[in-house]
Assembly symmetry: C2
Amino acid sequence: MKKVKVALLGFGTVGTGTWQIINDNREEIVKHCGYEIEISKILVQDTTKKRNIDIPEDVLTSNFDDIVNDEEIEMVVELMGGIDQAKEYILEAIKRKKHIVTANKALIANFGKEIIEAAEQEDVKFFYEASVCGGIPIIHSIKESLTGNKIQEIIGIVNGTTNFILTKMTKEKASFKDVLKEAQDLGYAEADPTADIEGYDAAHKLTILASLAFNTPVIFDEVYREGISRIDKIDIEYAEQMGYIIKLLAIAKEKEGELELRVHPTFISKYHPLASVNDSFNAVFLKGNAVGELMFYGRGAGDLPTGSAVVGDIVSILKNRYNPYSLTQFNSNMPNKKVKHMDDVTCEYYVRLMVDDQPGVLGKIASCFGKNGVSLSSVIQKGENVRPVALVFVTHYTTEGNVQKAMEEIRRMPDVIEVANIIRLENGKK
Amino acid sequence: MKKVKVALLGFGTVGTGTWQIINDNREEIVKHCGYEIEISKILVQDTTKKRNIDIPEDVLTSNFDDIVNDEEIEMVVELMGGIDQAKEYILEAIKRKKHIVTANKALIANFGKEIIEAAEQEDVKFFYEASVCGGIPIIHSIKESLTGNKIQEIIGIVNGTTNFILTKMTKEKASFKDVLKEAQDLGYAEADPTADIEGYDAAHKLTILASLAFNTPVIFDEVYREGISRIDKIDIEYAEQMGYIIKLLAIAKEKEGELELRVHPTFISKYHPLASVNDSFNAVFLKGNAVGELMFYGRGAGDLPTGSAVVGDIVSILKNRYNPYSLTQFNSNMPNKKVKHMDDVTCEYYVRLMVDDQPGVLGKIASCFGKNGVSLSSVIQKGENVRPVALVFVTHYTTEGNVQKAMEEIRRMPDVIEVANIIRLENGKK
């Protein structure tokens, strides 16, 4: 059996998953690509650390030179995370003509273009299916199966931690704080949960997806980003009453050559296919002008699901390494497309205010919306003669700029105690 | 711009969709593969027939020789349907070193192995993504992205017509007959609906999927098949009461090296991701030992969705035609795996009987189940002292053989007026 030598950089969750898959599913892999994959080196910080997996002694190394100087190693699989060190190693390995597989979304979202150009220059492959939504083959599908389509929109639930939290808040009417703590205790959320909770992780993934789907270099900083920490169980209840579920969505749309790129909590119809994606599952919903609506659903993280994507990429490279027409080819030299300023984005909005229940307050607020070009589709008032009383508005389609202008004025009204939340709706109409 | 000449065989729904996509999305296609695709010939029965699309006169031909003898045509896209003629043309085109794309599920389910062997012998590609679930990239995902997995099960809603009918029966509490008529009036069901309604179409697709997922030549006749014409709205109501939805599922599982292959109406938990796949949408749910649960959802039929898959395949071939490690390579020479006899398949069962409400009848039936090794998990009796009264049983896991033996005895009991329905459950436990 022909063998191909591969090195792993990093041996955490995904690294051990990849090791396990390559060893457990040896037969399947050979069937698909004709090669046996041998992980001949693994870069770790401490080679003497006790591990749960039995690794031959000479495989572990703490010296990257052992890998990059080993001419028998044809492929480097970067699973160490972080940006600077990972980038340095990858560029070095590319220079030494080694193919690259990575799961590093932050790296690609920030330096994808540079790395892809380097890979093209050296004629090596650079595959990164595992960087977005773990085991879900979304990148491969966009680059290989949907090539006959103009992709019009991508809407994803791409962060498992926040989906777990929102699902639990929805099902158990629990508060954000309590559920976050539970998620941390269970190991589903990090001790510092900022990257997940505030939508950075989702924005990294959206950067990669949008760049591929719309064939343009998307810059991470151009993605509007809002997290879920302001979502109250009351918002979830209002959503349910109106037939919606609240999800943290990563949304990318192309409209007349301009892009909308945004990550934020969203009211989505309970009948939308994404609405029933619960717990820590991920899903990517897209619309193409030929294929119509398409959704991919699965495990977005974890040792084996992400390892599945890593091994899929290794096999793809083995099948394509002598094929010049491979995945990365059309990634550099992409035309820049304009990203809409958030003020120009059009949505429907849910606005929850806490107000003093004085005669005329509803009229003043409604007039202020109207004056700023925001027309209302519904108003709900709960409670009477109490302080504070909740006033919930849902707007018709309007621009973010109009809503923000109206909110600025409303926030200053003496009877308005608090603008408790503003949440966008997504119902597939625009 | 480099051009590649392609011929279509047939110009019905999918053919016109393919034509439209290639013309409307020219830019996208070039971006992905570097080539412009030109449909230079289309085989039709009648070149003088009036068509809605404006086709240059010299493109249409009724003579296959015009295509097969044209050395500039590199690829033949078979969209005519049927078996014998399509097979003859495809084999002829393969002999002339033309790559093949087809959407013909019946052909592949029956003669796939023979065609793939011929394609390998002549070193041409044979791609058929469009044959299963239209625009959903399930074949490509199994062959390219999930190569690190042992696939353990595939459960699909792969026929849009039956899913449309069952969804409407569920939502509107309507009868099978009425909804079928409506579907026929709307053009969603054929005048002779047998292929859809009785599960032949689904069984063809399952044959292809199971063969790919389990890497074995699956024979169409080995797929157990049962249609939806016996589903009564009463069964749907019972299902709902118990927390289930009735779907026509195509199920393939590998357990200890043996395959289960079956298409039948099924009770599936309303929380299963497949349960919310409604109307004419398709979905394929699978489990891999690395990726875990994965689901693909989208349009399983129609001009543009199926055309999307056809064009995706054309582009894949253009990117892979000089790459020996391509999709078809590992399809011939697959080991045969044993397909379980249906009697040995293990399920839970829903059984609805119409009986005379005589004292002791429930006891007699329950004893008969017990005697045949079928243990019951619940019994529902509705109505009292009426004739006939409905008795509904749900069994624990048991073999099909045991259930059928029990039912044979029960059917002969004098108080049993009718065995109204027997429907299998699928809850992902076994």
